[in-house]
Symmetry: C2
Subunit: 135 residues, 2 copies
């Protein structure tokens, strides 16, 4: 069980979809929560729900957002800035979520850097994986 | 309207969650389809549904998968390898999907390279966006 809480903040059903995808691969993930922005939800209402999912201010927290500039990211960013032990990675993909959710590392700048590197490495053109397209 | 079809191949509700998230931002996306691997679905059954969504072999096609090594990716990869005008990007995040879905570019190696670059740039540590954490 990792030593930090993970909250996925994303548009609509993407948040729960990411967590559902990770659960299909990893099994139950009690420390991971999805908070999806609903189509008609105000930023203020979303901020309340997100804060409630993020636990106590002193607790280590990783928030994964879908898109810089979107409401889920903006709200999460404001929340994370007010907390000393909170980190935020934007542009979440399934690799980042699984890597974070199964990590036994302490949550610090180095761990977050490794998460970003893992997510970026997972995001690739299949042509680079196969010689047949470029013989 | 882009000149190519996009299919998102991912675990469970992640596929539809990604497309729903993109629709919340971009509006209707008729050329984008989500094919999610169901928990009890066989690779063969999934391959049939994926092939049906991918249209005619000569048609330009972009498949976005969630995770290298997962069944959706493996099945999509086998399908894309058999088609000349099909491309595959793994590790999809919302930025890649939106960039692809709103692109007016022709689908070629350069366009795919730009998609991957956009997706990787969107995947970042928020600390790199804010001076307050590292004053």
């Amino acid at each position: 069980m990792p030593a930090f809480r993970i909250v996925v903040a994303a548009h609509g059903e993407l948040a729960s979809g990411l967590v559902a995808g990770a659960r299909l691969i990893c099994g139950e993930l009690h420390h991971v929560q999805a908070i999806g922005l609903q189509p008609d939800e105000s930023p203020e209402g979303y901020a309340e729900r997100l804060a409630a999912a993020c636990g106590e201010p002193g607790e280590p927290l990783l928030v994964l957002t879908d898109l810089v500039g979107g409401t889920p990211h903006n709200v999460a960013f404001a929340l994370v800035r007010r907390r000393a032990s909170a980190f935020l990675v934007s542009g979440v993909n399934l690799a980042v979520l699984i890597e974070a959710a199964t990590s036994m590392d302490a949550l610090d700048d180095d761990a977050v850097e490794r998460l970003v590197a893992a997510g970026r490495a997972a995001l690739s053109d299949a042509a680079s994986l196969v010689a047949s397209r470029n013989p």
